[in-house]
């Protein structure tokens, strides 16, 4: 058992622009606890008049990085907390957080694989923690990531995913761009469907452990498609968030 979940003050030590609307923030966490890939932190902002806004953000970094975490935050139009992070936050800011939180949508190398990760938009964040953990653990668990984004320039972590794939033949990365594909695009160009899932399963076998994170409609399409392809429903774990872009 761990210590009770308590709010603490973390300090922003680095900010990285991932895409036009997505930034990653590194926080130094005084009462740091090793997380499981897939967990999140709650973040709470308090205005001078006492008004508070709280949101949950998935941890992007791997658990081995002692004393700090990365949270990748997408700007949400009209979002009270995300607009603070995109318009106001700077290195040195002190922010109230609590975590790590969650015990359902989690994976560690000891659980094993093969692993199928399916992401829509910023749903890739907890899956990136799993991929970074897998790489850091030196594990070669056969893994496939199927990642749906709207446009090429909206693909979060694109370059890092290319590097991870190039360095590891046991990792397959499949991209699909649903709105617009650049000239010469070799990935998919449609929403996730059964034939796409069939191709991905062919790359890693038909009985993977599955983690799906994204907007509800994508999560349900992917989960139902996989069950239709005889993947064991007990091996499918899902995490939903609001509609893409909201």
């Amino acid at each position: 058992m761990r210590a009770p979940l308590a709010w603490q003050i973390a300090t922003v030590t680095a900010i990285r622009q991932e895409t036009a609307t997505v930034r990653s923030f590194t926080f130094a966490v005084p009462d740091w606890q090793r997380h499981l890939a897939g967990q999140h932190y709650d973040v709470r902002l308090t205005a001078p008049d006492g008004y508070q806004a709280q949101r949950s953000y998935s941890i992007a970094s791997e658990p081995m990085r002692t004393g700090e975490i990365d949270l990748t935050i997408e700007r949400i139009e009209g979002g009270e907390v995300s607009s603070y992070f995109h318009d106001v936050a700077t290195v040195g800011d002190r922010i109230e957080i609590r975590g790590p939180i969650g015990g359902y949508f989690v994976w560690e190398a000891a659980i094993g694989g093969p692993l199928l990760l399916v992401a829509g938009g910023s749903g890739v964040v907890p899956l990136m923690s799993m991929l970074r953990h897998r790489t850091g653990a030196g594990d070669h668990i056969p893994t496939a990531l199927l990642f749906s984004s709207r446009r090429r320039d909206e693909v979060i972590y694109f370059d890092e995913l290319e590097s991870l794939r190039d360095a590891d033949p046991t990792l397959r990365v499949f991209h699909t761009l649903t709105r617009e594909q650049p000239p010469g695009w070799s990935g998919y160009g449609r929403r996730i469907d059964r034939s796409m899932l069939f191709d991905v399963l062919a790359a890693i076998g038909r009985q993977p452990r599955v983690f799906i994170c994204g907007p509800t409609l994508l999560v349900e399409a992917a989960a139902e498609g996989l069950v239709g392809l005889a993947v064991d429903p007990a091996q499918i774990r899902t995490e939903r968030f609001g509609p893409t872009g909201v």
Binding site: I76, S82, G102, T216
Partner: protein
């Protein structure tokens, strides 16, 4: 996890499911109340008998409280309302809930 704009809190008008979150979104609130993570723990729906982890339940979070509904039958399983000095918990829709015991 991310910000949400659900305008409707209890899911009664959520006809196409496109605005639905799941139990993972309220893991922090549940841990605050129960003192341990609940999302990875199984519970039984009092309406249809579905046996599944709390993380699979559908969550409706904006407004004055949180409503968690069964992922199979859609009935309300858990409601939480917090005021400045108290937490109100309605578990009528949950037949049973597992919580791990401390081994230390």
């Amino acid at each position: 996890m991310n910000e949400r704009t659900d305008s409707d809190n209890d899911g009664s008008a959520d006809t196409d499911g496109s605005m639905t979150l799941d139990g993972n979104a309220v893991a922090g609130l549940l841990e605050e109340i129960f003192g341990t993570d609940l999302t990875g723990q199984p519970c039984d729906c009092a309406h249809c008998g579905n046996h599944a982890e709390v993380g699979t339940m559908r969550a409706f979070i904006l407004g004055p409280g949180v409503t968690l509904r069964c992922s199979i039958c859609g009935e309300v399983m858990i409601r939480v309302v917090q005021t400045p000095d108290a937490t109100y918990l309605d578990l009528r829709g949950t037949a049973s809930l597992r919580m791990p015991r401390s081994t230390t």
